[in-house]
């Protein structure tokens, strides 16, 4: 019987947050702090001829001015293609070319305006479809010499920074076997994470050269590693501390501002330097979601079996794709969505453009490809006159099914999710016409997602038992709002059999908390959770050993229960955790063992690279998460407005460690997905972002939230803690295609690009009437 895992414990960070006590990076005020600003490029693609910083340097109150030559080393997570300040050339509007640290923000701002830069404009690329043409201007001439991970395949002399291929079965044969072949195209624009906290970083260098960085970041250790490379510093000489994080969604997964404040701080005579981004800066100078063009060719039999699929995804990676290249890879190994298709040819191609840098965004490519996949599926279902739900059931991945990489799956809860969602949205019932101008429709969409990460990256945890038997749990998985602090604490509580209130979780300090690769990929509960489970078991085993010595009873006759070790056979033989916390005191007064510290480490087992030419592999990912959403919408046929009335969702969480927080995550994902479906698009013209603020980049507000019905399915993942899988990102993946399919159901029009604005819908209605 589980006591803490599976319970909806209240958030452990709740009181701090509801009182406004939580400290985010911009809340930190250090003595002697200097304030930084960046000088930005006005051109999407240009050679830097000359930078004159002399006037800025002379301005009273200015302490440091730096340019690209101060940060010459290229860095990047999967592909080392960027420097923190532009060198020789700029590749997007807004790219930092210089930075200033001054006594106040106002002075820094003025100083930046005094920096003079001469540019020579170069022709630019604004779409991946343009970028792949042989005569397209080259954005990274030296791509061939950039260092990269083995799983990434950049093509020297082109704008293609990664090309992931899937060659499963034989598509030629497959299409011959098909009774019908359909081709469809889809487009997903750039969007921005829009966490309410803007990015901020502070750096300070001490007299021994040790650097401390404070930044709300999803990945303190990966940030540390990147910074160490960029500044050629030993890892022990750099400390990354992440205060509270005001939302991430991938936007705070990389290293950006940190690489600008450090070189400023290195010249600031030990004074700390803070760089706060405005909302406008966040839109152009932090990661945005990559744009994507999709072409899908589907071969299907009369009976509704998909026998072949040919998919092409062209990713608009923006000016730097150090992180985005792996999104293209993820798009490749998931390229057909959660369906079992015997013959697949897929090409997922990441292309440089002169747009702001693309990067991880909740879903890591899955929202984009599923918008195409799940609408395509609906189109095909309607063409062959099959119910879209039935069509999905028929082709769904089930136990024993094979993914596009040839991986055989077990423990698949997808069909259960389809059924649950269909029931909750009342799939069989339709009220189509509510009035002369209001039409309703329902749409469904499935998804799957795996953590996209290097195979061998690890997590670790430390469980420190305090003198009184309470526990400090140390990890570097970060709570960005998703509730990991709470769920991870529950995992420790379950093993240690003590109440959550007796455990304090400490995160986000590379000098104190143990290694964690990153808080991304919906991997925290699974990876960090497993390491915590092991750390707590390690602590428990140490105590069992001591109790065994104390009572002279074999360890396997003892158990840890309600915070004490007790004999299974002699209930009066028991000792509290507190009495073993510092080791065991022997009858003669001597002590043995010493304080109990449990350690746990985890790497997902048996995950291996796929073949570079075919993309085939037995286990390219740690696990798959399946989910389904269905939406009911109402369309005003005179204005084209779409209102989402209801969304039903079901996810296979394997085991929900905290069911209420799982539901809360799903609700948040639905509304974020709804934003991407109906409202959100970075309007970029010739490389210039026209709507870099909430005035013209609208995200959902309270009135946009639909009625939501959430279900959790639990088909355990054998390698997860108590069977748990990650669900954080999957929550927003199927929302947009479900809404798009519902719009079609309502009015018979397909909107093949996001967002589904009233304007597009009205245009489609008018065209259909013609």
């Amino acid at each position: 019987m589980l006591k803490y895992v599976g319970q909806s414990a209240l958030r452990v960070d709740g009181v701090r947050k509801v009182t406004g006590f939580s400290r985010y990076t911009d809340d930190l005020k250090l003595s002697g702090m200097l304030y930084a600003r960046i000088k930005k490029s006005p051109y999407p693609h240009a050679k830097i001829l000359k930078i004159d910083t002399s006037k800025a340097e002379k301005l009273p109150g200015v302490k440091v001015v730096i340019t690209g030559k101060d940060v010459p080393i290229r860095v990047g997570l999967y592909l080392e293609d960027k420097t923190f300040l532009a060198i020789d050339k700029v590749r997007f509007i807004g790219e930092p070319v210089a930075a200033v640290a001054a006594e106040s923000e106002e002075i820094a701002e003025e100083a930046v305006s005094l920096i003079e830069v001469d540019y020579k404009k170069l022709s630019a690329v604004f779409s991946p479809l343009e970028g792949i043409k042989p005569d397209a201007p080259l954005i990274h001439e030296d791509l061939g010499s950039y260092k990269h991970a083995s799983i990434i395949l950049p093509q020297s002399g082109t704008n293609i920074s990664n090309h992931y291929k899937i060659r499963k079965g034989n598509t030629e044969e497959g299409f011959k076997e098909a009774d019908f072949v359909f081709e469809n195209e889809f487009y997903v624009p750039h969007i921005q994470h829009s966490a309410i906290e803007n990015h901020c970083a502070i750096a300070q260098v001490d007299p021994e050269g040790k650097i401390t960085v404070w930044a709300g970041c999803q990945s303190p250790y990966t940030v540390r590693r990147t910074l160490a490379t960029a500044f050629n510093i030993q890892l022990n000489k750099i400390r990354v501390i992440s205060p509270a994080i005001g939302g991430g969604f991938g936007g705070k997964a990389g290293t950006t501002l940190e690489g600008i404040v450090i070189p400023l701080a290195q010249k600031a005579n030990y004074r700390p330097v803070k760089l706060s981004f405005s909302r406008e800066d966040v839109f152009t100078n932090t990661f945005i979601r990559q744009g994507m063009h999709a072409r899908i060719k589907t071969g299907v039999t009369k009976s509704g079996r998909i026998v072949a699929e040919e998919n092409k995804f062209y990713w608009d990676g923006g000016a730097y794709t150090e992180y985005g290249v792996n999104i293209a890879r993820a798009g490749g190994y998931a390229s057909t969505g959660p369906y079992d298709i015997p013959n697949v040819k897929a090409d997922s191609i990441c292309v440089y453009t002169n747009h702001p840098a693309g990067g991880p965004y909740r879903g890591f490519g899955m929202s984009e490809i599923h918008f195409a996949i799940e609408q395509n599926l609906d189109i095909v279902a309607h063409k062959i006159k099959m119910d879209p739900l039935e069509f999905r059931r028929k082709n769904a991945l089930k136990d024993g099914g094979r993914t596009v990489t040839g991986q055989v799956l077990e423990n698949v809860g997808f069909v259960e999710c389809l059924d649950k969602t269909a029931k909750d949205i009342e799939w069989d019932k339709r009220v189509k016409k509510v009035s002369a101008t209001k039409y309703r429709g329902k749409g469904i969409a499935g998804m799957y997602k795996a953590p996209s990460m290097p195979n061998n990256v690890g997590s670790s945890a430390i469980v420190k038992i305090n003198e009184d038997g309470t526990v400090n749990l140390l990890v570097t998985a970060m709570d960005l709002g998703q509730g990991s602090d709470t769920a991870l604490t529950q995992i420790a509580a379950e093993v240690l059999t003590i109440p959550i209130s007796q455990i304090s979780i400490i995160t986000g300090d590379t000098d104190c908390t143990p290694y964690e690769w990153q808080t991304v990929a919906s991997r925290t509960i699974y990876c960090c959770g497993n390491s915590i489970k092991r750390a707590a078991e390690d602590a428990k085993n140490q105590m069992l050993k001591l109790a065994s010595l104390k009572f002279g009873i074999p360890e396997n006759d003892l158990e840890l229960k309600d915070g004490q070790i007790i004999s299974k056979n002699y209930p009066d033989k028991k000792v509290k955790i507190a009495d073993l916390a510092m080791g065991l005191t022997m009858p003669d007064g001597s002590g043995i063992h010493g304080p109990i510290i449990g350690r746990g480490a985890f790497i997902p087992p048996d995950v291996k690279d796929t073949d570079k030419e075919t993309g085939q592999g037995d286990k390219p990912v740690a696990f798959w998460t399946f989910g389904v959403q269905a939406a009911e919408v109402e369309v005003d046929i005179e204005t084209g407005e779409v209102k989402v009335l209801k969304v039903a969702a079901a996810y296979d969480a394997g085991k929900a460690i905290n069911p209420e927080l799982v539901c809360a995550q799903i609700e948040g994902g639905i509304v974020q997905g709804l934003g991407s479906a109906l409202l959100e698009e970075m309007k970029i013209e010739e490389g210039k972002v026209l709507n870099p603020s909430f005035v013209d980049y609208k995200i959902p507000a309270i009135g946009d939230a639909p009625e939501m019905k959430i279900s959790i399915v639990e088909v355990p993942e054998p390698t997860g803690p108590w069977g748990a899988r990650g669900i954080a990102e999957p929550c927003m993946v199927p929302t947009a295609p479900a809404i798009a399919n519902a719009v079609f159901d309502a009015i018979g029009c397909r909107i093949n690009s996001l967002p589904i604005t009233a304007e597009k819908v009205l245009k489609a209605i008018k065209e259909k009437k013609k």
Partner: protein, 283 residues
Amino acid sequence: MKEFEYLKPDSIKKTISILSQFGEKAQILNGGTDLIVEMRDKIIQPEYLVDIKAIPQLNRITYNKQDGLNIGATVTLNEISNSKVVQTHYPILVKACKTVGSYQVRNRATLAGNICNASPAADTAPPLLVLEAKVNIIGPTGEKIVPINQFFTGVKKNILKKGEIVTSITIPPIKGKWVGVYLKQGRKKEVDLATVGVAVVCIRDEVRIALGAVAPVPVRAFKTEELLKGKTIDESLLEKAGRSALTEVSPISDVRSSQEYREEIIKVLVRRAILQAKGGHIL
């Protein structure tokens, strides 16, 4: 934000004298919800900011049957929405005020500010146009009253001259039964700027129509009104009215909407607003 001198006169007389003295260098601070953002973005950089919120007579709403409604310059949109007399006599104005920004913004933003800012998309402008509001202005040369449809002179431009301030807005009484409707189309239902705003007032056989966000200034659709005058409203007339309204405006494409979509929405909203004001249902 650039440095400036903050002045807070407690009388209209002092305000006019400050404004006359500093001219272009001075800017009135009322609700500040547009001004402070523009100053932050360095779009405008006044040297003197003249806060008019300490002038007692500007902060009143008065109503009587003979003169109608008078709303002082510093009365906020929420004060208008919450005012019993406005709710009773001019519900269209309440509706329009409530579509401006968020609740927080409406606690600061004012009706006078909304029109002085002279955004083509100002939500309160179309209702004021159909209510034939009058803008009360005081300046160095004395008082004057300007009909609202002469107040706007261009995008973000109004008729005010050096040293002049708007003291209040008067909405004359309307005799007999009448119904007013304001319909707004935005990208989303709440806290958004209008891509098209349409106000309609029906007074017996008279129909007044005004449109926002579809021309350099908010406009009355006089020709369309003429077309409808005294006629029985039916579907074909409504359609004609929509098409006619289109000829009286000049919508553009911008980041919020294309010209084509604005044109479609003008037709729809004009039709719906008339229908609703005539007591019909919007389907």
